[in-house]
Symmetry: C2
Subunit: 326 residues, 2 copies
Protein backbone atom coordinates (compact mmCIF):
# COMPACT_ATOMS: atom_id res chain seq x y z
CA UNK A 1 0.00 0.00 0.00
CA UNK A 2 2.90 2.34 0.70
CA UNK A 3 4.43 1.51 -2.68
CA UNK A 4 3.19 4.62 -4.37
CA UNK A 5 4.72 7.18 -2.01
CA UNK A 6 8.08 5.40 -1.92
CA UNK A 7 8.29 4.98 -5.70
CA UNK A 8 7.32 8.64 -5.96
CA UNK A 9 10.66 9.54 -4.36
CA UNK A 10 12.66 8.09 -7.26
CA UNK A 11 12.39 11.05 -9.69
CA UNK A 12 13.41 13.43 -6.89
CA UNK A 13 16.42 11.30 -6.02
CA UNK A 14 17.49 11.13 -9.66
CA UNK A 15 17.16 14.94 -9.83
CA UNK A 16 19.40 15.22 -6.77
CA UNK A 17 16.76 16.70 -4.48
CA UNK A 18 18.06 16.58 -0.92
CA UNK A 19 14.69 15.91 0.70
CA UNK A 20 13.86 12.97 -1.57
CA UNK A 21 17.35 11.55 -1.04
CA UNK A 22 17.04 11.82 2.73
CA UNK A 23 13.61 10.19 2.75
CA UNK A 24 14.64 7.27 0.58
CA UNK A 25 17.80 6.79 2.68
CA UNK A 26 15.53 6.43 5.69
CA UNK A 27 13.54 3.75 3.86
CA UNK A 28 16.74 1.96 2.90
CA UNK A 29 17.92 2.03 6.49
CA UNK A 30 14.65 0.64 7.82
CA UNK A 31 15.02 -2.27 5.42
CA UNK A 32 11.29 -2.85 5.07
CA UNK A 33 9.82 -4.50 1.99
CA UNK A 34 7.85 -1.41 1.02
CA UNK A 35 10.98 0.46 0.02
CA UNK A 36 12.04 -2.39 -2.26
CA UNK A 37 10.46 -1.26 -5.56
CA UNK A 38 12.04 2.18 -5.21
CA UNK A 39 15.44 0.75 -4.31
CA UNK A 40 15.18 -1.60 -7.27
CA UNK A 41 14.49 1.38 -9.55
CA UNK A 42 17.41 3.28 -8.01
CA UNK A 43 19.74 0.33 -8.51
CA UNK A 44 19.05 0.43 -12.25
CA UNK A 45 20.11 4.09 -12.36
CA UNK A 46 23.20 3.69 -10.20
CA UNK A 47 26.64 2.50 -11.21
CA UNK A 48 28.41 5.70 -12.14
CA UNK A 49 29.94 6.78 -8.81
CA UNK A 50 33.43 5.90 -7.65
CA UNK A 51 32.82 4.08 -4.36
CA UNK A 52 35.63 4.46 -1.82
CA UNK A 53 35.69 2.44 1.40
CA UNK A 54 37.59 3.90 4.34
CA UNK A 55 38.26 1.66 7.30
CA UNK A 56 40.65 1.54 10.21
CA UNK A 57 40.97 0.76 13.88
CA UNK A 58 38.92 2.82 16.34
CA UNK A 59 40.61 6.07 17.23
CA UNK A 60 42.51 6.33 13.97
CA UNK A 61 40.87 9.61 13.02
CA UNK A 62 38.85 8.29 10.11
CA UNK A 63 36.07 10.86 10.47
CA UNK A 64 38.46 13.78 10.36
CA UNK A 65 40.13 12.22 7.35
CA UNK A 66 36.83 11.74 5.54
CA UNK A 67 35.97 15.40 6.11
CA UNK A 68 39.34 16.46 4.69
CA UNK A 69 38.96 14.19 1.66
CA UNK A 70 35.49 15.57 0.99
CA UNK A 71 36.83 19.14 1.18
CA UNK A 72 39.72 18.33 -1.17
CA UNK A 73 37.53 16.45 -3.68
CA UNK A 74 35.13 19.42 -3.74
CA UNK A 75 37.99 21.50 -5.16
CA UNK A 76 37.77 19.34 -8.29
CA UNK A 77 34.06 20.16 -8.39
CA UNK A 78 32.94 16.64 -7.64
CA UNK A 79 29.90 16.01 -5.48
CA UNK A 80 30.75 13.80 -2.52
CA UNK A 81 28.40 11.47 -0.64
CA UNK A 82 29.40 9.91 2.68
CA UNK A 83 27.80 6.87 4.32
CA UNK A 84 29.19 6.55 7.85
CA UNK A 85 28.71 3.31 9.73
CA UNK A 86 31.40 3.65 12.33
CA UNK A 87 29.79 3.28 15.75
CA UNK A 88 32.40 5.67 17.11
CA UNK A 89 31.76 8.17 14.33
CA UNK A 90 30.45 11.58 15.26
CA UNK A 91 27.92 11.15 12.41
CA UNK A 92 26.27 8.08 13.78
CA UNK A 93 24.41 7.54 16.97
CA UNK A 94 27.03 5.46 18.70
CA UNK A 95 29.39 8.14 19.93
CA UNK A 96 28.81 9.07 23.50
CA UNK A 97 32.17 10.58 24.27
CA UNK A 98 33.23 11.50 20.75
CA UNK A 99 33.48 14.87 19.15
CA UNK A 100 30.37 15.35 17.09
CA UNK A 101 31.50 18.54 15.43
CA UNK A 102 34.61 17.37 13.61
CA UNK A 103 32.67 17.43 10.36
CA UNK A 104 31.76 21.08 10.85
CA UNK A 105 33.87 22.27 7.95
CA UNK A 106 31.81 20.47 5.33
CA UNK A 107 28.40 21.16 6.80
CA UNK A 108 26.33 23.51 4.71
CA UNK A 109 28.07 22.63 1.43
CA UNK A 110 25.28 21.35 -0.88
CA UNK A 111 27.89 19.37 -2.84
CA UNK A 112 28.48 17.11 0.15
CA UNK A 113 25.84 14.76 1.53
CA UNK A 114 26.65 12.95 4.77
CA UNK A 115 24.46 10.16 6.07
CA UNK A 116 25.09 8.12 9.17
CA UNK A 117 23.69 4.63 9.32
CA UNK A 118 22.72 3.95 12.90
CA UNK A 119 22.04 0.30 12.22
CA UNK A 120 24.57 -2.32 11.41
CA UNK A 121 23.63 -5.57 9.81
CA UNK A 122 21.28 -7.27 12.21
CA UNK A 123 22.97 -10.57 11.54
CA UNK A 124 26.51 -9.74 10.59
CA UNK A 125 28.64 -7.23 8.80
CA UNK A 126 27.52 -4.26 6.82
CA UNK A 127 23.79 -3.91 6.52
CA UNK A 128 22.19 -4.30 3.13
CA UNK A 129 20.92 -0.80 3.83
CA UNK A 130 24.47 0.50 3.49
CA UNK A 131 24.72 -0.78 -0.05
CA UNK A 132 21.30 0.64 -0.88
CA UNK A 133 22.44 3.99 0.56
CA UNK A 134 25.46 3.96 -1.73
CA UNK A 135 23.13 3.32 -4.69
CA UNK A 136 20.90 6.22 -3.70
CA UNK A 137 23.78 8.72 -3.48
CA UNK A 138 25.24 7.29 -6.70
CA UNK A 139 21.95 7.60 -8.60
CA UNK A 140 21.49 11.11 -7.17
CA UNK A 141 24.64 12.22 -8.95
CA UNK A 142 27.31 12.09 -6.25
CA UNK A 143 30.42 11.26 -8.25
CA UNK A 144 32.37 10.06 -5.23
CA UNK A 145 30.67 7.99 -2.53
CA UNK A 146 32.65 7.24 0.61
CA UNK A 147 31.72 4.42 2.98
CA UNK A 148 33.31 4.98 6.38
CA UNK A 149 33.41 2.06 8.80
CA UNK A 150 35.36 0.97 11.82
CA UNK A 151 37.91 -1.61 10.86
CA UNK A 152 38.35 -4.45 13.25
CA UNK A 153 36.70 -7.73 12.49
CA UNK A 154 34.42 -8.46 9.62
CA UNK A 155 33.44 -4.92 8.67
CA UNK A 156 36.75 -4.09 7.10
CA UNK A 157 36.44 -7.02 4.74
CA UNK A 158 32.83 -6.14 3.99
CA UNK A 159 33.67 -2.54 3.14
CA UNK A 160 36.33 -3.74 0.73
CA UNK A 161 33.73 -5.99 -0.85
CA UNK A 162 31.43 -3.00 -1.39
CA UNK A 163 33.99 -0.47 -2.65
CA UNK A 164 36.01 0.05 -5.81
CA UNK A 165 38.90 1.53 -3.84
CA UNK A 166 39.66 0.62 -0.23
CA UNK A 167 41.65 2.89 2.08
CA UNK A 168 42.90 1.36 5.34
CA UNK A 169 43.79 3.88 8.03
CA UNK A 170 46.42 3.05 10.63
CA UNK A 171 47.58 5.24 13.44
CA UNK A 172 50.82 5.41 15.42
CA UNK A 173 51.12 4.05 18.91
CA UNK A 174 48.06 1.88 19.22
CA UNK A 175 50.16 -1.02 20.41
CA UNK A 176 51.30 -4.30 19.04
CA UNK A 177 48.01 -6.12 19.49
CA UNK A 178 46.24 -3.66 17.26
CA UNK A 179 49.07 -3.64 14.75
CA UNK A 180 48.84 -7.42 14.58
CA UNK A 181 45.27 -7.21 13.37
CA UNK A 182 46.52 -5.42 10.32
CA UNK A 183 48.07 -8.64 9.14
CA UNK A 184 44.59 -9.68 8.11
CA UNK A 185 43.74 -6.49 6.30
CA UNK A 186 46.91 -5.96 4.30
CA UNK A 187 45.43 -7.60 1.28
CA UNK A 188 42.19 -5.64 1.27
CA UNK A 189 43.90 -2.24 1.17
CA UNK A 190 44.37 -0.48 -2.14
CA UNK A 191 45.82 2.48 -0.25
CA UNK A 192 47.31 2.61 3.24
CA UNK A 193 47.09 5.79 5.30
CA UNK A 194 49.01 6.47 8.48
CA UNK A 195 46.91 9.15 10.14
CA UNK A 196 48.11 11.52 12.85
CA UNK A 197 51.46 11.65 11.09
CA UNK A 198 52.41 14.60 13.28
CA UNK A 199 52.94 12.16 16.14
CA UNK A 200 56.57 11.30 16.87
CA UNK A 201 56.06 7.53 16.46
CA UNK A 202 54.40 7.81 13.03
CA UNK A 203 57.63 7.00 11.20
CA UNK A 204 57.84 3.62 12.89
CA UNK A 205 54.28 2.74 11.91
CA UNK A 206 54.97 3.75 8.31
CA UNK A 207 58.13 1.64 8.28
CA UNK A 208 56.27 -1.32 9.85
CA UNK A 209 53.55 -1.14 7.25
CA UNK A 210 55.99 -0.93 4.39
CA UNK A 211 57.90 -3.89 5.80
CA UNK A 212 54.68 -5.91 6.04
CA UNK A 213 53.71 -4.97 2.50
CA UNK A 214 57.12 -6.05 1.26
CA UNK A 215 56.60 -9.59 2.57
CA UNK A 216 52.84 -9.76 2.26
CA UNK A 217 50.53 -10.06 -0.70
CA UNK A 218 49.90 -7.04 -2.85
CA UNK A 219 46.43 -5.65 -3.31
CA UNK A 220 44.70 -8.89 -4.18
CA UNK A 221 41.26 -7.35 -4.26
CA UNK A 222 41.90 -4.84 -6.99
CA UNK A 223 42.69 -7.42 -9.65
CA UNK A 224 45.66 -5.23 -10.43
CA UNK A 225 48.54 -7.50 -9.47
CA UNK A 226 51.75 -5.92 -10.60
CA UNK A 227 49.97 -2.85 -11.91
CA UNK A 228 49.16 -1.33 -8.53
CA UNK A 229 51.45 -1.21 -5.52
CA UNK A 230 49.41 0.01 -2.52
CA UNK A 231 51.07 3.22 -1.34
CA UNK A 232 51.61 4.04 2.34
CA UNK A 233 50.64 7.68 2.82
CA UNK A 234 51.10 9.77 5.96
CA UNK A 235 48.30 12.22 6.70
CA UNK A 236 47.61 14.72 9.43
CA UNK A 237 44.16 16.01 10.22
CA UNK A 238 45.80 18.82 12.17
CA UNK A 239 48.19 20.18 9.55
CA UNK A 240 46.34 18.85 6.51
CA UNK A 241 49.53 17.08 5.40
CA UNK A 242 49.03 14.32 2.86
CA UNK A 243 45.35 14.91 2.07
CA UNK A 244 46.05 16.04 -1.50
CA UNK A 245 48.36 13.06 -2.07
CA UNK A 246 45.68 10.73 -0.71
CA UNK A 247 43.02 12.14 -3.03
CA UNK A 248 45.43 11.80 -5.94
CA UNK A 249 46.10 8.19 -4.99
CA UNK A 250 42.34 7.49 -4.83
CA UNK A 251 41.94 8.91 -8.33
CA UNK A 252 45.03 7.08 -9.58
CA UNK A 253 43.70 3.78 -8.28
CA UNK A 254 40.42 4.33 -10.05
CA UNK A 255 42.27 5.23 -13.25
CA UNK A 256 44.29 2.02 -12.96
CA UNK A 257 41.09 0.00 -12.50
CA UNK A 258 39.61 1.63 -15.58
CA UNK A 259 42.73 1.29 -17.71
CA UNK A 260 43.22 -2.39 -16.96
CA UNK A 261 39.54 -3.28 -17.20
CA UNK A 262 39.70 -4.60 -13.63
CA UNK A 263 36.81 -2.30 -12.75
CA UNK A 264 34.42 -4.69 -14.50
CA UNK A 265 35.41 -7.69 -12.40
CA UNK A 266 35.27 -5.62 -9.25
CA UNK A 267 31.76 -4.50 -10.13
CA UNK A 268 30.73 -8.10 -10.71
CA UNK A 269 32.22 -9.11 -7.35
CA UNK A 270 30.17 -6.40 -5.66
CA UNK A 271 26.99 -7.54 -7.40
CA UNK A 272 27.71 -11.16 -6.51
CA UNK A 273 27.85 -10.20 -2.88
CA UNK A 274 24.67 -8.13 -3.13
CA UNK A 275 22.82 -11.02 -4.69
CA UNK A 276 23.84 -13.27 -1.82
CA UNK A 277 22.96 -10.66 0.80
CA UNK A 278 19.54 -10.17 -0.76
CA UNK A 279 18.96 -13.93 -0.72
CA UNK A 280 19.88 -14.09 2.95
CA UNK A 281 17.51 -11.23 3.66
CA UNK A 282 14.65 -13.08 1.98
CA UNK A 283 15.52 -16.14 4.06
CA UNK A 284 15.52 -14.10 7.27
CA UNK A 285 12.20 -12.56 6.28
CA UNK A 286 10.65 -16.01 5.89
CA UNK A 287 12.15 -17.00 9.21
CA UNK A 288 10.58 -14.04 11.00
CA UNK A 289 7.18 -14.54 9.33
CA UNK A 290 7.08 -18.20 10.33
CA UNK A 291 8.43 -17.74 13.84
CA UNK A 292 5.11 -18.79 15.35
CA UNK A 293 4.52 -21.51 12.78
CA UNK A 294 6.95 -23.84 11.10
CA UNK A 295 10.01 -22.28 12.72
CA UNK A 296 8.62 -22.84 16.23
CA UNK A 297 8.35 -26.56 15.52
CA UNK A 298 11.91 -26.73 14.21
CA UNK A 299 13.19 -24.87 17.27
CA UNK A 300 11.41 -27.29 19.58
CA UNK A 301 13.21 -30.14 17.85
CA UNK A 302 16.55 -28.32 18.08
CA UNK A 303 16.01 -27.59 21.78
CA UNK A 304 15.30 -31.29 22.32
CA UNK A 305 18.39 -32.00 20.19
CA UNK A 306 16.46 -34.55 18.13
CA UNK A 307 17.67 -32.91 14.89
CA UNK A 308 20.67 -30.74 14.07
CA UNK A 309 20.75 -27.21 12.63
CA UNK A 310 21.59 -28.36 9.10
CA UNK A 311 18.61 -30.71 8.87
CA UNK A 312 16.34 -28.08 10.40
CA UNK A 313 17.55 -25.48 7.90
CA UNK A 314 16.88 -27.82 4.97
CA UNK A 315 13.33 -28.23 6.20
CA UNK A 316 12.97 -24.45 6.58
CA UNK A 317 14.07 -23.91 2.99
CA UNK A 318 11.59 -26.49 1.74
CA UNK A 319 8.90 -24.60 3.63
CA UNK A 320 10.09 -21.37 2.01
CA UNK A 321 9.52 -22.95 -1.41
CA UNK A 322 5.94 -23.76 -0.52
CA UNK A 323 5.46 -20.19 0.63
CA UNK A 324 7.06 -18.70 -2.48
CA UNK A 325 4.93 -20.88 -4.73
CA UNK A 326 1.73 -20.00 -2.88
CA UNK B 1 32.26 -41.30 0.26
CA UNK B 2 34.13 -39.75 3.17
CA UNK B 3 31.08 -40.08 5.41
CA UNK B 4 32.27 -43.22 7.07
CA UNK B 5 35.60 -41.93 8.36
CA UNK B 6 34.07 -38.70 9.68
CA UNK B 7 31.18 -40.44 11.41
CA UNK B 8 33.73 -42.86 12.84
CA UNK B 9 35.17 -39.97 14.84
CA UNK B 10 31.98 -39.50 16.85
CA UNK B 11 32.48 -42.30 19.44
CA UNK B 12 36.03 -41.08 20.07
CA UNK B 13 34.83 -37.51 20.58
CA UNK B 14 32.13 -38.66 22.99
CA UNK B 15 34.78 -40.63 24.88
CA UNK B 16 36.88 -37.47 25.11
CA UNK B 17 39.75 -38.74 22.99
CA UNK B 18 42.00 -35.82 22.10
CA UNK B 19 42.92 -37.07 18.65
CA UNK B 20 39.30 -37.63 17.57
CA UNK B 21 38.34 -34.22 18.95
CA UNK B 22 41.15 -32.51 17.07
CA UNK B 23 40.28 -34.25 13.82
CA UNK B 24 36.59 -33.44 14.00
CA UNK B 25 37.41 -29.83 14.91
CA UNK B 26 39.41 -29.65 11.69
CA UNK B 27 36.40 -30.93 9.75
CA UNK B 28 34.17 -28.39 11.47
CA UNK B 29 36.58 -25.61 10.59
CA UNK B 30 36.77 -26.63 6.94
CA UNK B 31 32.98 -26.43 6.79
CA UNK B 32 32.65 -29.05 4.07
CA UNK B 33 29.47 -31.07 3.65
CA UNK B 34 31.20 -34.34 4.42
CA UNK B 35 31.59 -33.44 8.07
CA UNK B 36 27.86 -32.70 8.35
CA UNK B 37 26.58 -36.13 9.46
CA UNK B 38 29.16 -36.30 12.25
CA UNK B 39 28.44 -32.74 13.39
CA UNK B 40 24.74 -33.53 13.36
CA UNK B 41 25.39 -36.54 15.61
CA UNK B 42 27.58 -34.44 17.89
CA UNK B 43 24.89 -31.76 18.16
CA UNK B 44 22.47 -34.33 19.55
CA UNK B 45 24.93 -35.22 22.30
CA UNK B 46 25.87 -31.65 23.18
CA UNK B 47 24.01 -29.21 25.39
CA UNK B 48 25.55 -29.80 28.80
CA UNK B 49 28.48 -27.36 28.83
CA UNK B 50 28.36 -23.84 30.19
CA UNK B 51 29.34 -21.71 27.19
CA UNK B 52 31.11 -18.46 28.11
CA UNK B 53 31.85 -15.79 25.51
CA UNK B 54 34.77 -13.47 26.19
CA UNK B 55 35.12 -10.41 24.01
CA UNK B 56 36.83 -7.06 24.18
CA UNK B 57 38.74 -4.49 22.21
CA UNK B 58 42.10 -5.49 20.73
CA UNK B 59 44.91 -5.20 23.21
CA UNK B 60 42.69 -5.74 26.23
CA UNK B 61 44.57 -8.82 27.34
CA UNK B 62 41.79 -11.30 26.64
CA UNK B 63 44.12 -14.21 25.92
CA UNK B 64 45.96 -13.81 29.22
CA UNK B 65 42.62 -13.57 30.97
CA UNK B 66 41.32 -16.73 29.30
CA UNK B 67 44.43 -18.61 30.42
CA UNK B 68 43.94 -17.41 34.00
CA UNK B 69 40.25 -18.36 33.97
CA UNK B 70 41.09 -21.82 32.66
CA UNK B 71 43.69 -22.29 35.40
CA UNK B 72 41.24 -21.15 38.08
CA UNK B 73 38.35 -23.28 36.79
CA UNK B 74 40.64 -26.31 36.77
CA UNK B 75 40.92 -25.92 40.56
CA UNK B 76 37.24 -26.87 40.74
CA UNK B 77 38.10 -29.94 38.67
CA UNK B 78 36.15 -28.82 35.63
CA UNK B 79 37.44 -29.55 32.18
CA UNK B 80 37.80 -26.37 30.14
CA UNK B 81 37.62 -26.03 26.35
CA UNK B 82 38.69 -22.84 24.59
CA UNK B 83 37.74 -21.79 21.05
CA UNK B 84 39.81 -18.73 20.13
CA UNK B 85 38.80 -16.66 17.13
CA UNK B 86 40.62 -13.46 17.94
CA UNK B 87 42.81 -12.56 14.96
CA UNK B 88 45.27 -11.01 17.40
CA UNK B 89 45.19 -14.05 19.66
CA UNK B 90 48.42 -15.96 20.16
CA UNK B 91 46.39 -19.12 19.53
CA UNK B 92 45.27 -18.23 16.07
CA UNK B 93 47.24 -17.54 12.96
CA UNK B 94 46.71 -13.81 12.82
CA UNK B 95 49.28 -12.63 15.33
CA UNK B 96 52.51 -11.57 13.76
CA UNK B 97 53.83 -9.36 16.51
CA UNK B 98 51.92 -10.89 19.41
CA UNK B 99 53.23 -13.05 22.19
CA UNK B 100 52.43 -16.61 21.27
CA UNK B 101 53.50 -18.08 24.57
CA UNK B 102 51.10 -16.33 26.94
CA UNK B 103 49.08 -19.52 27.17
CA UNK B 104 52.15 -21.48 28.28
CA UNK B 105 50.83 -22.06 31.78
CA UNK B 106 47.92 -24.19 30.65
CA UNK B 107 49.74 -26.14 27.97
CA UNK B 108 50.17 -29.76 28.83
CA UNK B 109 47.15 -29.95 31.14
CA UNK B 110 44.89 -32.64 29.64
CA UNK B 111 41.88 -31.00 31.32
CA UNK B 112 42.24 -27.97 29.06
CA UNK B 113 41.71 -28.11 25.31
CA UNK B 114 42.56 -24.98 23.33
CA UNK B 115 41.62 -24.64 19.70
CA UNK B 116 42.20 -21.64 17.51
CA UNK B 117 39.90 -21.05 14.59
CA UNK B 118 41.94 -19.51 11.83
CA UNK B 119 38.90 -18.78 9.71
CA UNK B 120 36.24 -16.28 10.45
CA UNK B 121 32.85 -16.39 8.83
CA UNK B 122 33.45 -16.05 5.12
CA UNK B 123 30.47 -13.74 4.87
CA UNK B 124 30.15 -12.09 8.22
CA UNK B 125 30.59 -12.65 11.91
CA UNK B 126 31.44 -15.85 13.67
CA UNK B 127 31.81 -18.84 11.42
CA UNK B 128 29.32 -21.65 11.74
CA UNK B 129 32.45 -23.70 12.40
CA UNK B 130 32.85 -21.89 15.72
CA UNK B 131 29.47 -23.09 16.92
CA UNK B 132 30.22 -26.61 15.72
CA UNK B 133 33.53 -26.46 17.61
CA UNK B 134 31.68 -25.52 20.80
CA UNK B 135 29.40 -28.53 20.27
CA UNK B 136 32.36 -30.83 19.82
CA UNK B 137 34.06 -29.73 23.04
CA UNK B 138 30.71 -29.82 24.83
CA UNK B 139 29.91 -33.35 23.64
CA UNK B 140 33.47 -34.42 24.53
CA UNK B 141 32.77 -33.60 28.16
CA UNK B 142 34.30 -30.16 28.64
CA UNK B 143 32.06 -28.63 31.29
CA UNK B 144 33.11 -25.08 30.54
CA UNK B 145 33.61 -23.94 26.94
CA UNK B 146 35.05 -20.47 26.39
CA UNK B 147 34.71 -18.65 23.07
CA UNK B 148 37.31 -15.89 22.83
CA UNK B 149 36.85 -13.25 20.15
CA UNK B 150 37.97 -9.75 19.44
CA UNK B 151 35.24 -7.33 20.28
CA UNK B 152 34.78 -4.48 17.89
CA UNK B 153 32.03 -4.66 15.36
CA UNK B 154 29.71 -7.54 14.79
CA UNK B 155 31.71 -10.28 16.47
CA UNK B 156 30.95 -9.14 19.97
CA UNK B 157 27.24 -9.37 19.31
CA UNK B 158 27.68 -12.75 17.65
CA UNK B 159 29.61 -14.18 20.58
CA UNK B 160 26.88 -13.04 22.94
CA UNK B 161 24.38 -14.80 20.69
CA UNK B 162 26.35 -18.04 20.96
CA UNK B 163 27.11 -17.98 24.71
CA UNK B 164 25.16 -18.46 27.91
CA UNK B 165 27.34 -15.96 29.75
CA UNK B 166 29.08 -13.05 28.04
CA UNK B 167 32.13 -11.33 29.52
CA UNK B 168 33.14 -8.01 27.97
CA UNK B 169 36.73 -6.99 28.65
CA UNK B 170 37.69 -3.32 28.75
CA UNK B 171 41.09 -1.90 29.39
CA UNK B 172 42.28 1.43 30.75
CA UNK B 173 43.64 4.16 28.55
CA UNK B 174 42.59 3.04 25.10
CA UNK B 175 41.12 6.44 24.42
CA UNK B 176 37.71 7.95 24.06
CA UNK B 177 37.02 6.58 20.59
CA UNK B 178 37.38 3.04 21.79
CA UNK B 179 35.43 3.73 24.96
CA UNK B 180 32.61 5.09 22.80
CA UNK B 181 32.26 1.75 21.07
CA UNK B 182 31.32 0.24 24.38
CA UNK B 183 28.04 2.09 24.21
CA UNK B 184 26.91 -0.57 21.78
CA UNK B 185 28.06 -3.51 23.84
CA UNK B 186 26.80 -2.53 27.27
CA UNK B 187 23.68 -4.54 26.80
CA UNK B 188 25.36 -7.73 25.65
CA UNK B 189 27.59 -8.01 28.73
CA UNK B 190 26.56 -10.23 31.60
CA UNK B 191 29.88 -9.43 33.29
CA UNK B 192 32.24 -6.51 32.69
CA UNK B 193 35.95 -6.91 33.27
CA UNK B 194 38.47 -4.10 33.41
CA UNK B 195 41.72 -5.85 32.61
CA UNK B 196 45.19 -4.52 33.42
CA UNK B 197 43.78 -3.13 36.67
CA UNK B 198 47.33 -2.51 37.86
CA UNK B 199 47.48 0.47 35.51
CA UNK B 200 47.04 3.84 37.18
CA UNK B 201 44.09 4.88 34.99
CA UNK B 202 42.09 1.70 35.66
CA UNK B 203 39.96 3.37 38.31
CA UNK B 204 38.66 5.90 35.83
CA UNK B 205 37.67 3.18 33.36
CA UNK B 206 35.87 1.27 36.13
CA UNK B 207 34.04 4.44 37.17
CA UNK B 208 33.14 5.22 33.54
CA UNK B 209 31.73 1.75 33.01
CA UNK B 210 29.70 1.88 36.21
CA UNK B 211 28.35 5.28 35.22
CA UNK B 212 27.36 3.97 31.80
CA UNK B 213 25.69 0.93 33.35
CA UNK B 214 23.76 3.18 35.71
CA UNK B 215 22.16 5.04 32.81
CA UNK B 216 22.18 2.23 30.26
CA UNK B 217 20.12 -0.92 29.94
CA UNK B 218 20.86 -3.86 32.17
CA UNK B 219 21.86 -7.20 30.76
CA UNK B 220 19.09 -7.51 28.19
CA UNK B 221 20.43 -10.72 26.73
CA UNK B 222 20.32 -12.77 29.88
CA UNK B 223 16.55 -12.55 30.29
CA UNK B 224 17.34 -11.76 33.91
CA UNK B 225 16.11 -8.19 34.20
CA UNK B 226 16.21 -7.17 37.83
CA UNK B 227 17.68 -10.48 38.89
CA UNK B 228 21.15 -9.88 37.55
CA UNK B 229 23.10 -6.65 37.69
CA UNK B 230 26.21 -7.02 35.51
CA UNK B 231 29.20 -6.55 37.82
CA UNK B 232 32.28 -4.52 36.85
CA UNK B 233 35.32 -6.51 37.93
CA UNK B 234 38.95 -5.37 37.86
CA UNK B 235 41.46 -8.04 36.90
CA UNK B 236 45.20 -8.13 36.46
CA UNK B 237 46.97 -10.74 34.41
CA UNK B 238 50.20 -9.70 36.10
CA UNK B 239 49.18 -10.00 39.76
CA UNK B 240 46.29 -12.40 39.23
CA UNK B 241 43.98 -9.96 41.00
CA UNK B 242 40.28 -10.50 40.38
CA UNK B 243 40.50 -13.85 38.56
CA UNK B 244 38.82 -15.77 41.39
CA UNK B 245 36.07 -13.14 41.64
CA UNK B 246 35.54 -13.32 37.88
CA UNK B 247 35.20 -17.12 37.93
CA UNK B 248 32.76 -16.83 40.81
CA UNK B 249 30.74 -14.26 38.85
CA UNK B 250 30.65 -16.57 35.81
CA UNK B 251 29.33 -19.38 38.01
CA UNK B 252 26.88 -17.04 39.75
CA UNK B 253 25.50 -15.89 36.41
CA UNK B 254 24.95 -19.45 35.31
CA UNK B 255 23.27 -20.25 38.63
CA UNK B 256 20.97 -17.24 38.14
CA UNK B 257 20.10 -18.43 34.62
CA UNK B 258 19.30 -21.89 35.97
CA UNK B 259 17.33 -20.65 38.99
CA UNK B 260 15.15 -18.30 36.95
CA UNK B 261 14.65 -20.69 34.06
CA UNK B 262 16.13 -18.07 31.72
CA UNK B 263 18.65 -20.66 30.54
CA UNK B 264 15.92 -22.30 28.46
CA UNK B 265 15.10 -19.14 26.50
CA UNK B 266 18.78 -18.41 26.01
CA UNK B 267 19.28 -21.91 24.61
CA UNK B 268 16.37 -21.39 22.23
CA UNK B 269 17.83 -18.07 21.10
CA UNK B 270 21.11 -19.78 20.33
CA UNK B 271 19.36 -22.53 18.37
CA UNK B 272 17.30 -19.96 16.48
CA UNK B 273 20.47 -18.30 15.35
CA UNK B 274 22.06 -21.61 14.40
CA UNK B 275 19.05 -22.53 12.30
CA UNK B 276 19.32 -19.27 10.42
CA UNK B 277 23.09 -19.60 9.96
CA UNK B 278 22.66 -23.12 8.61
CA UNK B 279 20.02 -21.88 6.17
CA UNK B 280 22.35 -19.17 4.96
CA UNK B 281 25.09 -21.72 4.52
CA UNK B 282 22.85 -23.90 2.35
CA UNK B 283 22.01 -20.81 0.29
CA UNK B 284 25.70 -19.97 -0.13
CA UNK B 285 26.40 -23.55 -1.12
CA UNK B 286 23.78 -23.38 -3.86
CA UNK B 287 25.25 -20.07 -4.97
CA UNK B 288 28.73 -21.52 -5.31
CA UNK B 289 27.52 -24.65 -7.11
CA UNK B 290 25.58 -22.59 -9.65
CA UNK B 291 28.22 -19.92 -10.15
CA UNK B 292 28.78 -21.03 -13.72
CA UNK B 293 25.10 -21.68 -14.38
CA UNK B 294 22.07 -19.82 -13.17
CA UNK B 295 24.06 -17.42 -10.99
CA UNK B 296 26.18 -16.30 -13.94
CA UNK B 297 23.05 -15.26 -15.81
CA UNK B 298 21.73 -13.32 -12.82
CA UNK B 299 25.08 -11.57 -12.39
CA UNK B 300 25.08 -10.55 -16.05
CA UNK B 301 21.69 -8.95 -15.53
CA UNK B 302 22.87 -7.21 -12.36
CA UNK B 303 25.99 -5.92 -14.11
CA UNK B 304 23.78 -4.53 -16.86
CA UNK B 305 21.53 -3.15 -14.10
CA UNK B 306 18.43 -4.54 -15.83
CA UNK B 307 17.28 -6.13 -12.55
CA UNK B 308 18.01 -5.36 -8.90
CA UNK B 309 19.56 -7.61 -6.23
CA UNK B 310 16.21 -8.40 -4.58
CA UNK B 311 14.62 -9.65 -7.79
CA UNK B 312 17.75 -11.60 -8.65
CA UNK B 313 17.79 -13.22 -5.22
CA UNK B 314 14.14 -14.27 -5.52
CA UNK B 315 14.99 -15.98 -8.79
CA UNK B 316 18.00 -17.67 -7.18
CA UNK B 317 15.82 -19.06 -4.40
CA UNK B 318 13.31 -20.40 -6.91
CA UNK B 319 16.21 -22.14 -8.63
CA UNK B 320 17.32 -23.56 -5.30
CA UNK B 321 13.86 -25.14 -4.92
CA UNK B 322 14.21 -26.88 -8.24
CA UNK B 323 17.61 -28.15 -7.21
CA UNK B 324 16.42 -29.35 -3.79
CA UNK B 325 13.49 -31.17 -5.35
CA UNK B 326 15.63 -32.83 -7.97
Amino acid sequence: MARGPTLDLVPGVLAGETRAIARLLTRAESGDDEGQPALEAIFRHAGRAHVVGITGVPGSGKSTLVAKIALQMRRTNRRVGVVAIDPSSPFSGGAILGDRIRMGEICGDPGVFVRSMATRGALGGLARGTLDAVDILDAAGYELVIIETVGVGQDEVDVARAAHTTVVVSTPGLGDDIQAIKAGILEIADIHVVAKSDRPDADRTIADLKAMLAIGPLSRRSGLSGEWQPPVLPTSGVSGEGILALCEAIDAHRAALDASGAIASRRTEINERRLLLAGEEILRGAFVRQRCGHVAGLLAELDARTIGPHTAARRLLLQLQTETNA
